[in-house]
């Protein structure tokens, strides 16, 4: 399990320095795949006899379907349609973003191991990976300017959050998980549509163009 969560972390870190959408998506697929396995694995280890296979399996399958298959498919399709194979514009250099990513991992380690977090049922073995993934997802959105990258960043964040939920609570209520996956799916769909529109109008997927509205 540690290995998987390590993959989980490495993929998100790797993403920080990629400047190619397709590559990011593949990394995302890898991350989601590890998440979906973790979603079964973590409860199995931590709950022992109380482990509810049905519950966890459904969650994992959902994760797999939505995050490994559907969302990357949507993003890749959109990306194909946009035919933008050029490099993703970034707010900072790749090296710097990687550096900050590493710093964020360190920060999440500090958060995770600090007294305040550890005394209040806020951490478990995997929450470190989850928190750093959330942070990196957020930072990914900040550092990469392309529209699709922001979608990917959101998914990375969500992945982190899901890992966090699994690591803390061994899985959320089913109806809730259904809801969140549905929302995420529709959300990414809508974002994809919008990316399409924006590309149609602005002929670019750089968020730099989206700064008309201010004040």
């Amino acid at each position: 399990m540690n290995f998987l969560s390590f993959i989980f972390l490495i993929t998100s870190l790797w993403m920080l320095q990629t400047r190619n959408v397709t590559k990011s998506v593949y990394l995302l697929i890898l991350q989601s795949l590890s998440l979906s396995i973790l979603m079964i694995g973590i409860p199995m280890i931590s709950l022992g006899y109380d482990f509810n296979l049905f519950h966890s399996a459904i969650a994992a399958i959902l994760t797999f379907f939505v995050k490994v298959v559907l969302l990357p498919f949507i993003i890749l399709r959109v990306n194909k349609k946009l035919r933008s194979n050029d490099l993703i514009p970034m707010n900072m250099s790749q090296g710097l973003s990687l550096l900050i990513g590493i710093f964020l991992i360190g920060f999440s380690q500090v958060l995770n191991s600090s007294g305040f977090f550890s005394t209040s049922h806020l951490s478990s073995g995997y929450s470190f990976f989850a928190i750093s993934s959330i942070l990196i997802g957020c930072f990914y959105m900040l550092s990469h300017r392309a529209l699709l990258c922001q979608i990917i960043g959101i998914i990375v964040m969500e992945n982190g959050i899901f890992l966090y939920s699994v690591s803390l609570t061994n899985g959320m209520p089913l109806i809730f998980e259904f809801g969140t996956f549905f929302d995420l799916l529709v959300g990414v769909l809508v974002m994809g549509i919008m990316t399409n529109y924006i590309h149609g109008l602005f002929e670019s997927t750089d968020t730099e163009n989206l700064t008309e509205l201010k004040g």
């Binding site: 959105m141 968020t207 008309e212 201010k214 004040g215």
Partner: protein, 655 residues
């Protein structure tokens, strides 16, 4: 009797509302809607007047609970003599103004008359209810309504840029004043159970002096803004001239008095006696307002602006009376306090009368000539003798010329201030003795101002063709002015009786405020002066002094024309120079070398409060706001970062 007073009051409110709504139905036929609105207003104010009389005659105050609007907000009426007094002033003045508007508003027939009737009648209605309600929030509701409705009246001629600006200034200032009133009332409300006035009054008995003082200062600033004390007066000379004259008459003579009502109701009636510095502040503000108001009035040649500045002056005089009264009641000298309060209430009445008279006549003149600039008037006394006479009486009254009403109330204020100087100690004596001196100075300057106003507009040669061909307006306009002029004289002569009635108001507020006897000299002066005047006239008749030949004025050999006359600006020039340390006149002489005779001289005043107080604040706030706009820079990354940072900051804060 109780029921009658109520019934008439409801009737008057009902008629005001009808007068507001019915004209809207006839908005196509403008003259009809004007008539309907005015007649309803007329009836309503007549009813209001009657109910005011009934209320005034009631021996004890009555609380009448109508309904509970919302938790702690009750619509309840409290009828006592103080409300009745203000209601009487409002209704009487409004009655006359409505007669006047019937004719005067005909010149606005191109505009939306129905809208005017709507706002005007509702404005009066909200004011008359304002005097009676006895719950903080209801009071504030009607207070705000009054402000907003009058805003729409001020901006009635909104097609002019300066009117819009004036309207904005007005609503801005008055709203910021309201902030303080609200704060005072609500803060007070936290000490009591409920926001009704009786609860507040009960609470005031066991509040600490510190919180009382905070509330007092709030009321002073809040009501002071409405009243137009210096330096919060700047909206007054902008808003009053911009409105149609009947509205400005109403605003100047009654609306700014709602602030005086507020001070009487909240500070004197409900908050009770405070430390001496309360009264001293009011007195000081009064002195400053009256002096500065009259100085700026002197510099004006826009007749309505001039009158507006005189409102500042007169509010200052009223404040002087209140201040002296408050000091006296802090010193537990209740009789003297009562005299001072009576004087200021009497001045409220007098100012309402003569200021509305002046505004009405100024309005009719400026409509006839087509401008408010006095430099285009001149010689109107020949064509408009009746208007001239009423304006003259108004000017005499406002300059506190003895047998008229202005003197009667100022006299009481003088003797209160002199009494104050007799009773106060050490350094206060100097302060107390200098305040009547300031009032004397104010009186002298006011006299100068009205000599200027009257003589420039009515005497000597006409300065424009419109002034030459001016005609006396018809009876509907003259009659209210004549009634007001007559009441100026009557109020002056009957001063002691009226003061006696006014003292009843104060007795009702606090039984300590008992005045047995008012010394007035108006009647005495009238008798002596009248005697001598009649004797000298008889003497003149006997010796044939009235056989007068009129000869051309000597103009140093040149035929005299109106350009050679003294203008309003030149009349006030010596005073402008005398007080140049304060007025800061900015003189500019432009010489044209090509044409040696072409000399342009201009002189304007730097408005100190706007330049040094309001503009910097405005600029600071706007600059700050513009700088703040960088927060919304348009970059989605920044926005994401905000969310992120907020989260982190909160988590760190929690640790």
């Amino acid at each position: 009797m109780i029921d009658l007073g109520f019934i008439f009051f409801y009737l008057s409110v009902g008629f005001y509302i009808l007068g507001a709504i019915v004209p809207l139905a006839f908005s196509k036929n403008k003259s009809l809607s004007l008539k309907i609105g005015s007649y309803f207003g007329l009836t309503a104010s007549a009813f209001g007047f009657i109910s005011g009389i009934f209320m005034f005659l009631l021996p004890n105050p009555i609380l009448f609970k109508l309904l509970v609007i919302a938790p702690n907000i009750e619509l309840q009426f409290y009828f006592d003599k103080l409300c009745a007094f203000f209601l009487l002033i409002l209704s009487a003045i409004n009655f006359l103004i409505m007669i006047y508007s019937l004719e005067y508003m005909k010149s606005y027939l191109n505009d939306n008359i129905a809208k005017f009737s709507f706002f005007y009648n509702l404005f009066i209605c909200s004011m008359s209810i304002l005097f009676l309600v006895s719950n903080s929030i209801t009071f504030l509701i009607f207070w705000e309504l009054m402000s907003i409705l009058s805003y729409f009246l001020v901006t009635f001629e909104y097609r002019h840029q300066h009117v819009r600006k004036a309207g904005f200034f007005y609503i801005f200032m008055t709203h910021f004043g309201t902030v303080f009133i609200i704060s005072g009332l609500l803060y007070w409300g936290t000490f009591s159970n409920g926001l009704n006035f009786d609860a507040l009054k009960m609470a005031a008995m066991h509040m600490s002096m510190f919180s009382k003082s905070i509330i007092f200062l709030c009321f002073l600033i809040g009501f002071g803004t409405k009243a137009g004390i210096v330096p919060l007066h700047i909206w007054l000379p902008m808003a009053h001239p911009s409105a149609p004259s009947n509205v400005s008459a109403m605003m100047s003579s009654v609306m700014i008095k709602t602030a005086i009502y507020g001070i009487f109701r909240f500070v004197i009636d409900m908050l009770g006696v405070g430390p001496i510095w309360w009264g001293s502040i009011i007195l000081f503000i009064g002195v400053a307002s009256s002096l500065i108001g009259v100085l700026y009035a002197l510099m004006e040649h826009d007749i309505k602006k001039l009158l507006a500045y005189h409102s500042v002056e007169n509010i200052g005089i009223i404040f002087m009376g209140i201040g002296v009264g408050t000091i006296f009641s802090s010193m537990s000298l209740y009789t003297f306090a009562a005299i001072a309060y009576c004087a200021s209430l009497f001045h409220v009445l007098n100012h309402a009368v003569f200021k509305s008279l002046l505004f009405l006549s100024a309005g009719s003149i400026s409509k006839i000539i087509g401008t408010r600039d006095m430099e285009h008037y001149g010689g109107l006394i020949k064509n408009m003798p009746k208007t001239a006479l009423s304006f003259l009486i108004g000017s005499l009254a406002i300059s506190a010329i003895p047998p008229l009403n202005g003197f009667a109330s100022e006299y009481q204020i003088y003797i209160s201030m002199l009494n104050l100087s007799y009773f106060s100690h050490s350094y206060w004596k100097l302060f107390a003795i200098l305040s009547p001196v300031a009032l004397i100075l104010t009186g002298a300057l006011a006299a100068a101002c009205f000599v200027k106003a009257f003589s420039v507009s009515f005497l000597a040669l006409p300065r424009s063709s419109e002034a030459k061909n001016a005609k006396e307006p018809n009876l509907m306009i003259i009659a209210p002015e004549a009634i007001l002029a007559f009441s100026c004289i009557l109020l002056g002569l009957l001063a002691s009786n009226i003061l006696f009635y006014i003292s009843k108001i104060l007795v009702q507020i606090d039984s300590n405020f008992n005045v047995v006897y008012f010394q007035t000299t108006n009647l005495l002066f009238f008798i002596i002066f009248g005697l001598f005047f009649c004797l000298s006239i008889i003497f003149g008749k006997i010796f044939g002094l009235f056989e007068i030949r009129k000869v051309p004025t000597w103009g140093c050999g040149i035929n005299l024309n109106s350009k050679m006359e003294y203008t309003a600006a030149s009349f006030s020039q010596p005073i402008r120079r005398t007080y140049s340390f304060f007025l800061r006149p900015n003189r500019k002489i432009t010489l044209n070398p090509a044409k040696p005779l072409d000399i342009l001289f201009s002189e304007d005043l730097k408005p100190p409060f706007t330049t040094y107080l309001y503009s910097p604040i405005r600029k600071f706030i706007l600059n700050f706001s513009i700088k703040m706009r960088f927060l919304q820079s348009g970059y989605v990354h920044f926005y994401l970062a905000y969310i992120f940072i907020t989260l982190v900051v909160l988590l760190l804060w929690y640790r």
